[in-house]
């Protein structure tokens, strides 16, 4: 059998190239392909997790918006710094005279700031006091009427004195303190009715 030299070269080249193709395929391409498949599956999992979290975040955001809309008055009330003169102006119609003392900061309660105000007033009938208690629940602040409450007859009038607890958010410490300072001088007595 006579094989030409050219054919021998061609055969050698073919074997060399084939070896390169096989080595490249098995040593590089196949492991990389496997890794690609694993990474793709892993990424899909990550996407699914992200979508779940994103959906949950959307649901939570909806709940939060709903809560904010439902309790807008309460949220605003906690955010509003207590202003003595404004309270007097809003509620003096229930009394013949209404006087609020300085705001005193009390110990924090349920993570909220609590301020105490001593109040002295004159009413001509207990009904005015009932109306005042109803109005306090609808006021711009969260105000709790606190014990002790004293009613003392003075001729045709009833002198009443009680303390009020004003609740505010912790972040309002500064603004409430400022309000306390600016309105400490505003204690005034006004007679109407």
């Amino acid at each position: 059998m006579n094989i030409s030299r050219q054919h021998i070269y061609m055969l050698s080249l073919s074997v060399l190239l084939l070896t390169f193709v096989l080595i490249f395929s098995f040593a590089v391409l196949i492991p990389n392909g496997k890794e690609y498949r694993l990474k793709r599956a892993d990424l899909k999992k990550e996407y699914r997790k992200l979508k779940q979290l994103s959906d949950f975040s959307y649901e939570t955001s909806t709940i939060l918006q709903k809560l904010q809309a439902q309790h807008r008055h309460i949220i605003t009330a906690f955010d509003t710094p207590f202003v003595v003169s404004r309270f007097e102006k809003q509620h003096r119609s229930f009394f013949s005279s209404l006087k609020l003392s300085k705001l005193e900061k009390k110990e924090n309660e349920d993570a909220f700031n609590v301020y105490e105000v001593n109040t002295t007033s004159e009413i001509n009938s207990p009904k005015s006091f009932y109306k005042f208690l109803d109005a306090v629940n609808k006021s711009d602040w969260i105000v709790a009427i606190n014990f002790p409450i004293t009613f003392k007859r003075d001729s045709e009038m009833i002198n009443s004195s009680f303390t009020m607890k004003v609740y505010g958010n912790n972040k309002d410490v500064k603004s409430l303190s400022e309000s306390k300072q600016s309105h400490s001088e505003l204690d005034s007595e006004s007679k109407f009715k």
Partner: protein, 173 residues
């Protein structure tokens, strides 16, 4: 002088067989390199996407925890406000009940509402009216009731009624 009947042809390195061989291997190697490049690109792309996803994940987690805090805070605000509103309403009812409790013949001069008690100052025409018409209902409400009388010049009595509720049943008042 000619030794052959055919014309001599130029010998070339790229014979048709070699051309076929080279074409075949060129295409094969091109496909292999393209696949490898695709895999490298995808690997880079996956790494970048994973970093993005992780970033979004942590951002969402932060947003979620902030929203949870806000919800918790609003719930706490709502509970506290309801507690305060209920307390004010109960107080209103308590004061109304107190004034309804006092009969017309007895005149109150002072009433002190304490956290766990009630102190009343007033005048009564006689002790019996006080005992039957005021002390009896007070006794049914409070656990401990103390009364003291001071005679007045017109024959009436000035009285001080001190009433307490024991700690565990404060809510009734």
């Amino acid at each position: 002088m000619k030794y052959s009947y055919i014309n001599p042809q130029k010998k070339t390195l790229f014979t048709p067989e070699l051309k076929i061989l080279l074409t075949f291997f060129s295409i094969t190697i091109f496909m292999l390199v393209s696949t490898y490049s695709f895999l490298l690109f995808k690997d880079y792309n996956f790494t970048q996407t994973k970093i993005d996803i992780e970033q979004k994940y942590s951002e969402l987690n932060i947003t979620l925890s902030q929203m949870d805090e806000q919800i918790e805070h609003i719930d706490a605000q709502y509970l506290l406000s309801q507690k305060v509103y209920t307390q004010n309403s109960v107080l209103k009812e308590s004061i109304a009940n107190l004034f309804d409790l006092v009969p017309e013949r007895i005149t109150l001069s002072e009433a002190k509402l304490l956290k766990n008690g009630l102190v009343l100052y007033g005048i009564t025409p006689n002790k019996d009216i006080y005992n039957f018409m005021l002390q009896a209902p007070l006794r049914s409400i409070f656990h401990r009731t103390y009364s003291s009388f001071y005679p007045l010049e017109n024959g009436w009595f000035s009285f001080v009624s001190t009433n307490y509720i024991d700690e565990e049943s404060n809510d009734e008042y």
